[in-house]
Symmetry: C2
Subunit: 158 residues, 2 copies
């Protein structure tokens, strides 16, 4: 079933909205994580595709295609976990599909993904603010963050 998912990090307070360029490796290092060859490759790919949405599998394939080294999917998951733990990354679940991971960055934190053509349309920050404010006003929830992924169908595919 095509759905619409929004994700709020459990580590809401920690979430960091970066403006490009991000320096993921430096942040990992500054937080006591070790810099390894795998992490260099993963962070490099993420930084070069700052607006992309990858599944763990896609990431693994992309990285292993570009490099000589063969990085295991487990390692990818563990590095993604580390980045998420630091609030640099988030992931969302799409029914019948693997989770997609994406960076937290100021410019493009709301995405509408077309379930037919995979096109990604971004929502303006202004609109996100409006939505958040509606949600806050109407509930006693205050951990509404503005990193959303909506899945629907774009006009062209209808």
């Amino acid at each position: 079933m095509p759905l619409l998912y929004i994700r709020i990090s459990r580590l809401y307070d920690k979430i960091i909205m970066y403006n490009y360029p991000m320096n993921l490796l430096k942040i990992l290092k500054d937080n006591g994580y070790r810099i390894t060859e795998s992490r260099k490759l993963i962070c490099d790919l993420l930084e070069k595709n700052i607006h992309f949405h990858f599944s763990a599998k896609e990431l693994t394939l992309l990285i292993n295609k570009k490099s000589e080294i063969n990085i295991d999917q487990t390692t990818i998951y563990r590095t993604l976990d580390a980045l998420e733990e630091l609030g640099l990354l988030q992931h969302s679940h799409i029914p019948h599909k693997p989770a997609i991971y994406y960076l937290n960055n100021t410019d493009q934190n709301v995405h509408l993904i077309c379930e037919s053509c995979d096109k990604i349309v971004d929502i303006s920050e202004q609109s996100v603010k409006s939505i958040n404010s509606i949600l806050k006003q109407n509930s006693n929830f205050n951990t509404i963050n503005n990193n959303f992924v909506y899945i629907g169908k774009c006009k062209e595919c209808l």
Copy 2:
């Protein structure tokens, strides 16, 4: 990771917003599905808990506790699929948890679920309309439906 998920049914055009009382069995029958003992029990439970959110496992346990018959989880999944196919039901995925299923009904189609205490807070229909209109205005997506589940943390748990 605490997240916020929104789900749009793939069968958007088919989605039926019912006012209580719903007659799930009748709709199944009218659409060529057979009425069986399992389906009676499942539909009965759903109709008696019209605002609840169940995982497939919870549903199975609840039904088997109340009846003499032992209904297999597979049967639950298949009946849920049938109801979803008819636009009577939807499901959403919460990270690290099984999917939750809930009925489509007019009154309470937006839910904020607290990840700590499982409290469910409802959002007014008015607000849902505002959010939908913001999303539509800012994109070329037009299958934004108003059956949402947001997962966050309520004020009391913060």
